[in-house]
């Protein structure tokens, strides 16, 4: 068995809102990513999957539990856990090359090395000719390609992606999934990828964690035994369809629970307004 690169150990997270209410986002989450493995986390919106990824990245502190990378406990964000966000986080004032080399320049890497590495990555993401272009001229898909290259430039131990293709149209998304898979296969990267898209989770993942809704826990862990390189035809194979059916059913339960929970939240939100309303009704004004 391959070495466990990343271990998420008994992680819980409780948020306290401004009004003093507590929300239990994660409860005793245990998960791991092996060296060279592509792991996806799939769950309904609001299930805490992004929070979990942010805890792994060091952007959020767990209430209890810990994150181990190569056996060492992580407390702060760092370049060893490169991250790609759903929103476009390219630096508008930097060209494509300068965006990609942002981290390298921070660490004072030599110009020659920066130039070589940037050129290599730009070619890999298929954006040759756009080296000196500012992000405002790029499409959403192109922006996310640069964001991926930017995270890869720092040679992270693990690449974290938080619904990176969520804002893209369906066709572009498919192409981006294939590109990401190709980059990961070629460079033997370890990846943790969060999404609500079941197709995406299965097509990309060697393992899929299915999360439950509030508190977020690992509901199921599914191994996807499809060898790499994976071709786009995998998406329509019977094996894929079976997996999709079972994961869809599992997520559906959680989604229904999340809808019920949000209804309950809405009813709770404004007792003062509902107080007024009932008083007005009592006076037959409404």
């Amino acid at each position: 068995m391959a070495r466990k690169k990343l271990i998420i150990e008994n992680v819980s997270k409780v948020f306290t809102t401004a009004r003093g209410q507590t929300i239990e986002a994660l409860r005793h989450v245990n998960a791991y990513v092996e060296e060279g493995e592509f792991v996806t986390i799939v769950g309904t919106s609001g299930c805490g999957k992004s929070t979990l990824l942010r805890i792994v990245a060091g952007l959020e502190k767990p209430t209890s539990g810990r994150i181990l990378l190569d056996g060492k406990e992580m407390h702060r964000p760092g370049a060893d856990r490169g991250m790609v966000f759903q929103s476009y986080t390219l630096y508008e004032w930097l060209t494509v090359s300068d965006n990609i080399s942002f981290g390298l320049r921070l660490r004072g890497v030599s110009r020659k090395e920066i130039r070589e590495k940037t050129r290599f990555l730009i070619e890999k993401i298929g954006l040759s000719g756009f080296e000196d272009t500012y992000p405002k001229y790029l499409s959403g898909g192109m922006k996310q390609r640069v964001a991926i290259a930017r995270a890869m430039a720092n040679d992270p131990s693990i690449l974290l992606l938080d619904e990176p293709f969520g804002a893209l149209d369906a066709q572009t998304r498919t192409i981006m999934q294939e590109l990401l898979l190709q980059l990961v296969e070629e460079n033997r990267m370890t990846v943790l990828f969060v999404t609500h898209d079941i197709d995406e989770a299965i097509f990309l993942g060697d393992a899929v964690y299915v999360m439950s809704f509030r508190p977020g826990t690992i509901k199921e862990e599914v191994k996807i035994d499809v060898p790499h390189p994976r071709s786009p035809e995998v998406r329509t194979s019977p094996f894929f369809m079976d997996l999709k059916r079972s994961i869809t059913a599992a997520i559906r339960e959680e989604t229904i629970r999340s809808i019920e929970a949000s209804k309950a939240d809405m009813r709770r939100t404004s007792p003062r307004v509902s107080g007024w309303l009932s008083r007005l009704r009592g006076r037959r004004i409404l």
């Binding site: 760092g78 966000f85 986080t89």
Partner: protein, 280 residues
Amino acid sequence: MPMSTRNHSHYRPKWSDREVFQPKQPIPRGQYISFSLTSFGVIFLAWIILSYGRLVDAIFLPTPGSILKVGWEMAVSGELWEHMLASVTTILMGFALAAVLAVPLGILMGSFKFVEAFIEPIINFVRYLPVSAMIPLLILWFGIGRTEKVAVIFIGTFFQLIFLISDVSANISKELLESAYTQGARKRDVVWRVLIPAAMPGIFDNLRMTLGWAWTYLIVAELVSAQRGLGYMILQSMRGLHTEAIFVGLVVIGLLGLITDQSFKVLTKLLLPWSEKAGY
């Protein structure tokens, strides 16, 4: 023909069906320009008829020709330049002072909650106090010279600017900063290399807007009391019933406002070519 069984009735478009009368429908550029010129032309024509036709006394509405003539005389005698220079220098001094202090403070206020809690109450109090109400007090403190005018502009723009800029910096997405942390950036790098450059377009925009207000404050201050400046020039002209000179003053103030605004636009294009605001 058997295929065309539909009854093609002869539909005659009504006048209201034309493109120009459709809401939100773009119209050709030529048409747009001619509409704009028409409104301008109508007013100009009315002015010419009223003034040259002597329908209105020249004391109230001088002819365009006489205004040009007086303007030319004032330019040649150097009177116009003296007042213009006085106003422009005062504006630049007051505004530069306000900008130099408000930009860093605004960024801090938008980024750190403790700074916000510390200065926001004061700013919110002063912000709703019209500067014009403070002119008498400022005259008492600084006299009617340049210092008082600079103080008026400073107070009028500083508190607005700090608030607007803190809003710009507060609205920079947190994920933009977080993405820098996941690339190994330290806090100092995040502030200097991400937060500040990201805030630049918004800062420029607000500087441009407040510079326009600075003109209003200056003219008000000069109208109340001054020894030189365009506002003072207008007031003196009124006292001497030199209506032409009033119009000269108004035109010059308008042109100066237009020039400063356009130079800010050009500056944005030159310094921040990457910004969405610089256009494509």
